[in-house]
């Protein structure tokens, strides 16, 4: 009994500690982005560009393929369901609302969490284990300025772009399938889509993907810095980081959807 209470207590303290640490990571990243210049330790431009390439440019192909496939899948499901009501043409409405609001940001978020979130944790964890983080601090380089701030900035730049690409590819996929099925031209499909989509729908998706960016960076970094215990520790932390960030993304998505659509 006593042991159970002890364990609950320990878990609670650990959780509070982790939340505190994550908030600190987020704060430090933004702090260095803004204050670095004034402290004569600006965030380095080439680091930001490197991150943009590895997070964004290298993910273009996979984001395109996945979103294209999700677009087709949505069109197939939509047409099948709506056929019963004889309302096949409403599938365009479904696609034009669901993709920018929900599917594109979520797919991109999960993909980037898997690709970049794991890479962030593995990289920082390995640096921690090989004393590279200590070496940075000894040289006088704040690790958050050197690693966290460029990541955060790059992510906030890249994620909206990837989501926009995802929007386009998913709508294209859905459009190709449904225009063939319904025998309408691609042009009139696009016209319909543009008629339906409002700026608000796109913005909703973009707001979400910014939140996802912060989640991925913060979870990835805080797990990386807490790595203990060699290669196995790095592996565990990486798994934990991906699982946690995907879970947070889905939960955050639900919360945002609730509030943004009321």
């Amino acid at each position: 009994m006593l042991r159970l209470v002890e364990q609950i207590g320990k878990k609670t303290i650990d959780t509070i500690e982790e939340v505190g640490y994550s908030v600190m990571v987020a704060w430090k990243s933004f702090y260095w982005i803004v204050a670095g210049k004034f402290k004569k330790q600006p965030v380095q431009m080439d680091a930001i560009f490197q991150e943009i390439v590895s997070i964004g440019v290298n993910a273009v192909l996979i984001v395109s393929i996945l979103c294209f496939a999700v677009g087709i899948m949505l069109a197939i499901q939509g047409l099948e369901t709506l056929k019963d009501f004889g309302a096949e043409n409403k599938v365009i409405l479904g696609l034009a609302l669901a993709i920018p609001r929900e599917f594109a940001p979520l797919i991109v978020g999960i993909l980037v969490a898997g690709r970049t979130g794991s890479a962030i944790t593995a990289r920082i964890g390995t640096m921690q284990e090989s004393q590279e983080i200590d070496a940075l601090r000894v040289i006088g380089i704040n690790p958050h300025r050197y690693i966290s701030a460029p990541l955060m900035l790059a992510m906030l730049i890249v994620m909206p772009l990837l989501t926009t690409l995802g929007n386009f590819m998913a709508l294209l996929g859905g459009g190709i399938y449904s225009s063939i099925e319904m025998g309408m031209s691609m042009m009139s499909y696009m016209d319909r889509v543009l008629e339906i989509i409002q700026v608000g729908d796109i913005m909703q998706g973009l707001v979400k993907c910014m939140v996802f960016s912060i989640i991925i960076v913060v979870v990835g970094i805080s797990n990386g810095f807490q790595v203990r215990g060699g290669a196995e520790g790095v592996g565990k932390a990486t798994t934990r980081s991906v699982v946690l960030s995907i879970s947070y993304i889905v939960v955050a998505d639900m919360i945002f959807t609730y509030f943004l659509n009321r």
Partner: protein
């Protein structure tokens, strides 16, 4: 030798969680002196080094480097002081994503406003000192263990620091390379007038390079003196360490049983 004090540790107490690692450690290192810190595994020597580097929070006590107490310095003052410190970590701690040359230039990029050509020349000069000229475009993963240590040394001395810290310089090196590194350490002290703290458990190397030796055991300073003083020291544990005797602590039967049946 002048008797100006470069490093002064007073009553340093340190804990790792509830475990006490250092117990009122006192140590004084004079200008232009090589102080070797020796001790078995778990003696607290690495922790002492981490404190000297400002990487750990002390429970109590003070550490003065070049006259300033680093336990009480502001972030900015510490940043300035770091320009006077160089560190060569046990595993080298080179940044895997940077070339050898970029690794050596990193402190310069951080602390100076030199143009990149000048930085390149300085880094080549330092690589020349450690006999690695022509290697600046290789990645750390392409180097052998001895080379990595030498690059780490080049990075440590690139700012011409007054204080140089070594963590296990000869660990994992073959006898010839390790002897060469010892020569290099002595040469650097003589030529560049540095004050050095070397943490090691290699006896031969310690006796060769040390001006004075501090022997740590379970967080306590056993003796601090010249090589001869340490060799002639009558303290049993010091002799045990020097003659590689195994610890013959008498076993307390009661305590032993208690530990087993805990």
């Amino acid at each position: 030798m002048t008797n100006t004090i470069a490093i002064e540790v007073r009553d340093l107490v340190s804990h790792y969680g509830p475990r006490q690692i250092l117990n009122h450690v006192n140590m004084t290192v004079y200008d232009n002196e090589i102080m070797v810190v020796m001790g078995g595994s778990g003696s607290g020597k690495s922790t002492l080094l981490r404190h000297l580097l400002g990487l750990e929070q002390a429970t109590s006590g003070s550490i003065r480097l070049l006259g300033s107490d680093i336990t009480a310095l502001s972030e900015k003052e510490m940043y300035e002081l770091r320009k006077e410190m160089g560190v060569s970590f046990q595993g080298g701690a080179l940044f895997g994503s940077l070339t050898v040359g970029e690794n050596v230039q990193l402190p310069l990029k951080e602390h100076t406003r030199l143009d990149s050509k000048t930085m390149q020349i300085i880094s080549r000069m330092k690589l020349e000192v450690v006999n690695l000229s022509g290697f600046e475009n290789l990645m750390p993963s392409e180097l052998s263990g001895g080379m990595i240590k030498r690059v780490a040394l080049a990075r440590a001395i690139v700012m011409d620091p007054k204080l140089l810290f070594f963590d296990e310089p000869s660990a994992g090196l073959d006898p010839v390379t390790s002897a060469e590194l010892d020569e290099l350490i002595i040469k650097l002290r003589d030529v560049m007038k540095m004050t050095m703290v070397v943490v090691t458990h290699e006896l031969d190397s310690a006796f060769k390079i040390a001006d004075r030796i501090t022997v740590l055991d379970q967080g306590n300073v056993l003796i601090c003196g010249t090589v001869d003083e340490v060799k002639n020291c009558k303290i049993e544990r010091v002799q045990a360490l020097l003659s590689r005797q195994i610890r013959d602590d008498t076993v307390d039967a009661e305590a032993y049983l208690n530990r087993l049946t805990l």
